[in-house]
Symmetry: C2
Amino acid sequence: MQASIDTRQRIVNAAKTRFHSRSYGDVGVKEICDSAEVQKGSFYHFFPSKRDLAIAVIEEFADDWATGFIAEAFDPKLPPMERFDYLIDAAYFWQKAARDIQGHLPGCLFGNLALEISTQDDILRAKLNAVFIMAKKRIMETLDEAVAEGSVEPLDSENSAEAMLAYLEGLILLAKTQNNPDVIHRLGKAIKSIRIETNSL
Amino acid sequence: MQASIDTRQRIVNAAKTRFHSRSYGDVGVKEICDSAEVQKGSFYHFFPSKRDLAIAVIEEFADDWATGFIAEAFDPKLPPMERFDYLIDAAYFWQKAARDIQGHLPGCLFGNLALEISTQDDILRAKLNAVFIMAKKRIMETLDEAVAEGSVEPLDSENSAEAMLAYLEGLILLAKTQNNPDVIHRLGKAIKSIRIETNSL
DNA sequence: ATCATAGTTGACCGGTCAGTCTAATGCAAG
DNA sequence: CTTGCATTAGACTGACCGGTCAACTATGAT
C-alpha cells in the first residue's frame, strides 16, 4: 500500500522534530498524531508503543546524521585535521539555523535523549550509545589518517576520538543552556588540541 | 514553626534525588509527596507549582555542589593544575557510587535538566546557566593561578575554563550513555590539555 | 465476485497528571 | 481562654496520558 508507508513516515517526521526541539516526555502521542494528521489507531497500527516510535526516530535520525551532517564534515577530499573545522562549523550552522527558526537552540537529539531516558530504558540507552560509537569511529579514522599522513603525532586514536566526541557534546550542551550557538564557534577550535597519549605499557 | 521547615526540606530532598536519577518530566508531584510523607496540600503550601520546586532544587543542589564537590576538588592548598585531577576523580567516584547504589549512572543534575527543559523554560534555563557560570569561574581562577605560578603558559583563561567545563559535561554525558563511570577516568586526564589561546588582536 | 488483509477511523478505557479547595489542626501572642 | 495565622490533611477537579477496540474501507490476489 502507498498511503501506509507515507503515514508511518509522517508520524516519524513529526516525532523527530518534536522530540528534538522539546523532549521525549513532553511530547504526547496525541500531539504527534495531530501534527502528522493521523489517527491514534493508525499510530498504534505501526508502532506498538511510544517507546518503539522513539527507537524508529533514533534510527532514522542516526541515518540522516550519518549521510548528511557527518558525511559532509568528514569529506575524504579534505586534509584530515581540517575536517574537524568543518565539523564544528556544521554543528554551529545547524544549531544556529534551528535557533533562528524555533527561537530555541535544540541541541543534539542523541545527547538530549541520552540524558533524559538512559537511566530509565536500557535498550534506548544502548541504541543511543551505538550512535555515539559510530561517530567515534568516524573521528578515530580521521585521526588515524592524520597520523599516517604525518600531520599529527601518534596518539591513542580511539580514546582521543571519544574525548573529542565528548567535547563536542559538551559544547552543544553549553550552547543550549545559553541558547546561543556562538559558544560552538568560540570554543570549537580547541577540539583539535584534545589528545590522549598511547598507553606506554 | 519547626515542622514546617522540615516539611519543605523533606520535599526538596525527595525531589533532588528523584530529579537527578530520573528526570523532571518523569517524576510527578504525587510521587514526591509520597516519598517525603507529605500531603499535596502541604506541597502547594510551600511551592506554587512543580516548576518552583525545580527552582528550589537547582538552588539547593548548586549550593551542595559549591560547598561539597567543587570546594573539595578546588582545594587551594593543592598546586593549581593538580586540582583538575581531583575534579575528575571526584566526578568519577560520585558517579560510580551512585551507579553502584541505583544501578544507573545519574549524570550531572544540571546537565540533565539543561537538556531536558532549557528549550521549554527560559527562567529555569537561566538558573542552570548561572550554575555553569559559577563553575566556569572556579576553573578560570584556577587557571589564572597556574599561569601566575608559571606552571601553564598564558592563555585565554575564561574561554579555556568554559571549554574545560564543556568537556567535563561531555564526559559525564558519555559515561551516562554507557552507564559506565570508567569513561570519566579513561578520558578525564585530557581536560588539562584543553587550551584556548589569547586572541592576539 | 469475493475474500483476505493492510490500513484507517474515532470513540473509548483506566489511570495519572498538576493543581485546588475546605476543613481541621497546632501553636503563639494578647 | 481566645483569637489569628501558619500548617496539614486529604478528597476532589478536569484535563490529559498512553493505549485499546471494533467497525469500516481500500486494495490486490484468486
